[in-house]
């Protein structure tokens, strides 16, 4: 069991020793049940740190922001940044390392093990509590969560309120870390691609109807892109608004910018956007589920990424985020790659 005191102690130590610039962790939000990302510079603030099943965010995203911030500074602080990571987040860090986007010495990784459970899905919890409001959610023994409501404590088994991604998680402990808190446990999911197989079993017409309904809801707020630790391109192919315009950019260059996808949230454009995003994340998505959680319309975006993860594993034997030294999925090949679809 990860003890909160140990986590606080570890963060306090590295801050006091001056090993890191700051540490990215979680803290409770006084106004709601949720947690919020917390940037600690002063070791006196470590008491605010929290670790509970509501720490859903993937903090690896902030390493991307940190790199950009550092690039703009004149005299950047070259010390590493501390970051608290769960199993999935550590795989995200691994992919960033694999792509050489960040360097290993620029990040100090504090791994926390999910220990056979994971984080909860707030919607599932609300449904389970049936109108009562949770005040606190804690990890309990034997894969259970202890939920405190006005009526007292209640034990809920993990399988009931775990987020979908955690139910399909293949390694719920960090794979890369400087300090590890909690045990390295293994919980092999019985069906790691259960959700994808459900959609695969539909007929072609039903699949189209399903995605038409889901992607028709998209308003193109790009929350999925903003929450994703892998969506770090400075210029996004679907959204020319963030094409880097500098003083040297001529009017002609601006006019000639290719507009691959319309900005309007039309069904066809939504499809292109989400398919392109899924393909750009092929072999990079670590299934942290942030896109799906950030989506204001609850579009099951995870399925698209999970499908490609499944294909990568089954056809090319590629596992995402376990080895920072393996060549990326789409920049490598094997002689025996499938060829049966080619005439």
């Amino acid at each position: 069991m990860v003890k909160l005191e140990e986590l606080k102690e570890a963060v306090k130590n590295i801050l006091d020793q001056g090993k890191v610039k700051y540490v990215i962790a979680y803290k409770t939000n006084p106004n709601s049940l949720r947690t919020v990302p917390f940037f600690i510079k002063d070791s006196n603030d470590v008491d605010q740190i929290t670790w509970n099943p509501l720490c859903v965010y993937n903090l690896a995203r902030f390493l991307v922001d940190e790199k950009r911030r550092k690039a703009r500074e004149k005299n950047p602080d070259t010390r590493p940044v501390g970051v608290v990571v769960k199993g999935c987040d550590s795989r995200a860090v691994n992919v960033l390392l694999q792509e050489n986007y960040i360097k290993r010495q620029d990040v100090y990784i504090i791994g926390v093990s999910c220990e056979k459970t994971g984080v909860i899905d707030e919607k599932k919890l609300t449904k389970k509590l049936n109108g009562r409001r949770a005040q606190k959610v804690e990890f309990g023994p034997d894969s259970q969560f202890i939920v405190t409501t006005r009526n007292g404590q209640e034990k809920i088994s993990a399988a009931e309120i775990l987020a979908d991604r955690c139910l399909e998680c293949q390694a719920n402990f960090p794979v890369v870390y400087d300090i590890l808190l909690g045990e390295e446990t293994k919980r092999k999911p019985e069906k790691p691609f259960q959700s994808v197989e459900k959609i695969e079993s539909l007929s072609q017409k039903e699949k189209w109807a399903f995605w038409q309904k889901e992607l028709g809801k998209c308003i193109r707020c790009y929350a999925c892109r903003s929450a994703c630790p892998m969506c770090y391109c400075d210029e996004c192919v679907v959204d020319t608004i963030n094409f880097a315009v500098t003083a040297e950019t001529t009017a002609e260059e601006k006019a000639q910018k290719i507009k691959w996808v319309e900005k309007s949230p039309l069904l066809s454009e939504n499809f292109i956007y989400h398919l392109v995003r899924a393909l750009h994340l092929a072999g990079r998505c670590v299934d942290c589920g942030e896109c799906e959680r950030a989506c204001p319309f609850d579009i099951p975006l995870r399925f698209l990424n999970k499908k490609l993860e499944k294909e990568a594993k089954e056809l090319f034997g590629y596992k995402v985020g376990f080895d920072p030294d393996q060549p990326p999925l789409l920049s490598s090949f094997k002689d025996e790659d499938p060829e049966d679809f080619i005439w």
Partner: protein, 140 residues
């Protein structure tokens, strides 16, 4: 309507092989359907999945990508990268409910003019059978 439907096919052809193959078919006066719009690319490995999606988005009924046989790539291994990447494109198109025939890949060398005509014939017939592509087409 369905009987006289003529599909519009966008064909991305590798400059070093398939494009030369289509040229051979042309100079040899072989006949094949005029439905394919050829676009010469430097390598099948340079075909981004976005090209394929964009072609479907802008009104293509089918997309064909053709490159060199494995081992014959002008850039040594471009077609092998393409093979892996475009396989995923095919899988994801199928996953969201498109007909898998909307996208096809083939290996055609510069000497295979006859194979080029055969591939175009077969592919046009295949797309004809499934009808116009409206799912990803932009309706403004």
């Amino acid at each position: 309507m369905a009987d006289n439907f003529e599909p519009k096919i966008v064909a991305f052809l590798c400059k070093w092989c398939s494009s030369a193959g289509s040229d051979l078919a042309g100079v040899s006066r072989m006949e094949y359907p005029p439905n394919a719009v050829p676009i010469t690319v430097m390598c099948s490995g340079s075909v981004s999945p976005l090209y394929i999606l964009s072609a479907l988005n802008k009104g293509a009924d089918g997309v064909l990508v053709s490159g060199c046989h494995p081992g014959d790539c002008h850039y040594i291994k471009g077609n092998l990268y393409a093979r892996r990447r475009l396989y995923l494109v095919k899988k994801i198109l199928e996953f969201v409910g498109l007909e898998p025939q909307r996208f096809q890949m083939s290996w055609i060398s510069a000497a295979e003019g006859t194979k080029y005509t055969q591939v175009i014939k077969d592919y046009v017939n295949q797309v004809k059978a499934i009808g116009p592509q409206t799912k990803l087409r932009r309706n403004l």
